[in-house]
């Protein structure tokens, strides 16, 4: 006889006990699930304006759903935590980025300008112009700015963590960043958070 069997009285109706246990187990599990607060961990590694959207959209939306959210900003992702956001896009080497005019008559807006990489690379200020056009598109389509989404995250208590190693590596100083940063940590500190979260994304 095992140790567990000794706890059960000999005259117990085993099948009735099993039935009771199954029901109790189900209800306890349902109770636990109802009380569970979902959690999301995001590792944000990109520092261009286009790639700034996914982490901030997912984080702010998850917090609106009542989830616990933590975001770890590392490498170029740290750029998203700067006090002054100077995020740009680079269409160079990105064949998926539509190159469309955000203004003018509809026929003009519908044209996808197929600019060869060599032209993009050789034209001074090309990225500045592309960034300006992207900002215009964002505005005209009613999409939030990165600043707005970041603000929404802060308001909703999304925990923003900065990678200390990247700060050292790129020679930044902590006062270049927003004061709402929850902590200056490393991979060893963020991974246990990621491990316990229901959803973990690398962006």
């Amino acid at each position: 006889m095992g140790a567990a069997d000794k706890l059960i009285p000999e005259n117990l109706d085993k099948s009735r006990f099993d039935q009771w246990f199954d029901q109790r187990f189900e209800s306890k599990m349902a109770e636990r699930e109802a009380a569970h607060v979902p959690s999301l961990s995001i590792i944000a590694t990109k520092g261009t304006m286009d790639w700034a959207y996914p982490p901030f959209i997912l984080a702010s939306t998850a917090s609106a759903l009542g989830w616990d959210v933590s975001v770890f900003f590392t490498f170029y992702g740290l750029e998203l935590l700067k006090k002054d956001l100077h995020l740009e896009i680079s269409p160079l080497g990105n064949p998926s980025m539509p190159m469309k005019m955000p203004f003018g008559p509809q026929w003009l807006k519908d044209i996808n300008w197929n600019v060869p990489n060599a032209v993009m690379a050789g034209l001074p200020g090309f990225e500045k112009v592309a960034t300006g056009l992207m900002k215009q598109t964002v505005k005209s389509k009613g999409v939030a700015t990165i600043d707005e989404l970041r603000h929404a995250c802060i308001e909703a208590d999304v925990k923003l963590f900065a990678c200390q190693m990247t700060v050292d590596l790129f020679g930044y100083s902590q006062d270049e960043f927003i004061p709402e940063i929850e902590g200056w940590i490393g991979a060893a500190s963020f991974l246990p958070t990621a491990q316990k979260s229901d959803v973990c994304l690398f962006v």
Binding site: I57, T61, A64, L65, G142, V143, A144, E155
Partner: protein, 77 residues
């Protein structure tokens, strides 16, 4: 727009995820049982608002489409 709602929120012209974020913010400032009428033009809001209410426990009393505009009536949990 429903006239009998406690509060109303206009998210017309806003795109994902702003309508949800603004709705959540408005609901947070209200008391349980009060109702919020939301207007939106984002076609994604039709599904998003359902998912939002399901997840947060607020009651989506009604949702309707009217000439490219969406109207939602939500009761705060």
């Amino acid at each position: 727009m429903s006239t009998n709602a406690t509060q109303s929120l206009d998210t017309r012209g806003m795109n994902c995820p702003l309508p949800i974020l603004r709705t959540k913010k408005a609901l947070s400032a209200m008391s349980a049982g009060e109702t919020l009428a939301v207007t939106a033009t984002d076609p994604g809001s039709l599904k998003d608002m359902q998912a939002f209410c399901k997840q947060t426990g607020h009651e989506l009393i009604s949702s309707s489409t009217n000439q490219g505009e969406f109207e939602f009536l939500i009761r705060r949990a």
